[in-house]
Symmetry: C2
């Protein structure tokens, strides 16, 4: 399992990376729709068929980009949420995700928009996709939330799903959140969907004509969600 043993291996890894880079460049400009293997190959000075030695299909290339995108936004969120009071970590994580999304709208659309073809999104993506929600769970685990209002009781089936989710084993071998109250876990999922619902609406143009510069609405809602979660108030 020696990494990059032969010159060929190194060249292959390098070229694979260059293909992804060029693809990402084109993705950022024109969107996933117009990303073409041929133009990637052309830009790299090779012929299209050669590219198939590295990615078996256009979809496979896109899947690689999807994983990278999940990792990129996940890493941003993780770094932003390091240290500080729970509420502060929550704020920073949200803004990190939003900043990344606004800086890379096409990559955002790739992972949180409509599934591309017959959505081949395989198991490889889930570990990377889970990084942002895991950040949120990490914040919830380090506080003792006292939600702003009680809300309806969990139904049996939902409670079962949440319990199973908490017991589920993450890629790192640990269980996700066996200690988290189910009610808290449920609220975590709610705010998770709210966060990305806002971002999708903002980036996909649904807010045009209402809260169009979304900055203030976003900040206000983030704070409201923190109250909803029961994160201790700041200062």
């Amino acid at each position: 399992m020696n990494a990059s043993r032969t010159a060929r291996d190194r060249a292959r890894a390098e070229l694979t990376q260059e293909i992804k880079n060029e693809a990402r460049r084109q993705l950022a400009v024109d969107g996933a729709q117009k990303l073409s293997l041929r133009s990637v190959a052309r830009e790299l000075g090779m012929v299209s068929s050669a590219l198939y030695r590295y990615f078996a299909s256009r979809d496979e290339l896109l899947t690689a980009l999807i994983i990278d995108a999940y990792d990129a936004v996940g890493e941003q969120a993780e770094k932003a949420a390091e240290g500080g009071a729970p509420r502060e970590r929550w704020r920073k994580a949200c803004h990190a995700v939003r900043d990344w999304a606004r800086a890379n709208p096409h990559e955002y659309a790739l992972i949180y928009g409509s599934p591309i073809p017959g959505y081949a999104a395989p198991q490889d993506t889930v570990a990377s996709a889970a990084r942002v929600p895991m950040v949120l769970i990490g914040i919830l685990r380090e506080t003792n939330p006292s939600p702003a209002f009680e809300g309806p009781p969990l139904t049996d089936g939902l409670a079962g799903q949440l319990r199973a989710l908490g017991e589920q084993v993450a890629p790192d071998g640990e269980r996700i959140a066996p200690d988290l109250p189910l009610e808290t876990l449920n609220r975590g999922i709610v705010v998770w969907t709210q966060l990305f619902g806002m971002l999708s609406f903002e980036l996909f143009g649904q807010f045009v004509g209402s809260v169009d510069p979304t900055n203030e609405f976003f900040d206000h809602t983030i704070e409201q969600l923190a109250d909803f979660l029961g994160l201790p108030p700041a200062r």
Copy 2:
């Protein structure tokens, strides 16, 4: 402005509709990605170039489908929200939207997923797109909400945006909601994004592995959102 005057006009309108129907059929099967003018034409027994007499481009056909989709889901929501107590109207509207989305996932993706090309979505779509949020506003206007918790105060800029939104003139010539408290309007936008955030996550596969059969989570959240809005409790 006599509707369907000549035989030619009638034939034209009919064929336009048939093209849209066939396109919608293909959309439902394979998604927007694979919808091709040529195959639509082929299925209709005509040649591809003939189709350009009815739609100037593929994007224009898609735009027509987008408007139809907005109208379809809007109509479902409107019908579902007729009559009853506010909370009941809210529940029914949410379920109507979800049912439509699950029955027509590709059409849902077309309007609430990633913008297709360089998103040409013109002004024509906004009136249709506004129908679902207008249903929600209609519910809010017919009650005197007492939210379940107070939440952070509106910032000046956000309050200004909300005021402008309420004064805005809808397609029917009426102002949207000049009488609605800004705080209530704000919460309306929050639950609107939450509703579609949930649907997108469900349909685009983000809930796989967590609250995967989403029925109970959806129902529970709808109720929680009703509390959040301050809709009077049922029964």
